[in-house]
């Protein structure tokens, strides 16, 4: 992953858990509680919950083949202008990340290939690094700097 200089970390929380479905909602709740301390709208929090749910579910479903055999790490970090969430597994990895991130692409015929679509639409940045046999790391970024506009109009400039 291209390590960006995001400035100083103001606060962070890290979770490590077994790859079981029960832990998906747990990680959502922890990240949302962390994010709720920041200047974000309720809509932002809902979006963050979906994005985290997608990344963690992918680690369990694809990374570890839906088996309780591996560890998932979720780190949520607050920088001055960004909220950064990192979801990491040591599972099977992804051969072609670009392809995996395409809409409707899935290696599972029962699935719709929407996980990355939601992550990309709900977050400001989605960065993925993966190596077959080693694992996958997904970085989700929500910008904090701009006050959220409630209308499409901008305040007139002087």
């Amino acid at each position: 992953m291209t390590v960006k200089d995001r400035g100083e970390i103001i606060n962070y929380v890290q979770l490590e858990f077994l790859s079981v479905p029960e832990n998906v909602s747990l990680s959502r709740v922890v990240v949302a509680s962390f994010a709720a301390q920041l200047d974000l709208t309720l809509n932002d929090l809902e979006e963050i919950k979906v994005a985290v749910s997608e990344a963690v579910s992918n680690s369990i479903i694809h990374g570890y083949n839906n088996k309780p055999v591996g560890k998932v790490y979720v780190t949520v970090m607050r920088y001055e202008k960004e909220l950064v969430i990192i979801v990491k597994d040591e599972g099977v990895g992804i051969k072609d990340v670009k392809k995996a991130m395409e809409a409707a692409y899935s290696t599972d015929p029962e699935r719709m290939g929407l996980g990355f679509v939601f992550m990309k639409s709900f977050m400001d940045e989605v960065n993925v690094v993966s190596e077959p046999g080693k694992g996958t790391t997904v970085e989700l970024v929500k910008k904090l700097e701009l006050p959220k506009k409630t209308t499409g109009k901008q305040a007139p400039k002087e």
Binding site: P21, E22, V24, S25, R28, N43, E46, K49, V50, S53, E54, S57, I60, I61, E110, R111, M112, L114, G115, V117, F118, S121
Partner: protein, 112 residues
């Protein structure tokens, strides 16, 4: 997620409450299969007005059951969706496939 079931002639009402993710998608799948496999139920009215969260695993489960019910010559419609759930339904394109109604009464009318 809580699942409440009610049968009215050949139509099944499933009322979901809580969070619809990969864990609860399994509960949903078996609830539907229990009532459709080898039974006289044809249609499904899926009330999600009390679902507070949904992700792609929940959507996938809904869509898979929709296909199955259609194959069995039945129909399935969705009732109510909180704004955050509705956004996910819209973004996924599910609303273009499955009809969404505001309440159970209009859903039942829509099925006929």
């Amino acid at each position: 997620m809580k699942i409440q079931v009610e049968k009215l002639k050949d139509t099944l009402f499933l009322r979901l409450k809580g969070e619809f993710d990969m864990l609860t998608a399994d509960e949903f799948r078996s609830a539907v299969d229990d009532h459709f496999d080898g039974k006289r139920v044809k249609n499904l009215i899926l009330d999600i007005s009390k679902v507070s969260f949904i992700d792609s695993s929940g959507l996938g489960a809904i869509l898979a059951r929709y296909k199955k019910i259609k194959q069995l010559n039945g129909n399935m419609v969705i009732v109510g969706a909180k704004p955050q759930v509705k956004r996910v339904l819209e973004l996924s394109g599910v609303v273009k496939i499955i009809e969404v109604y505001d309440d159970e009464k209009s859903a039942l009318m829509g099925l006929l």
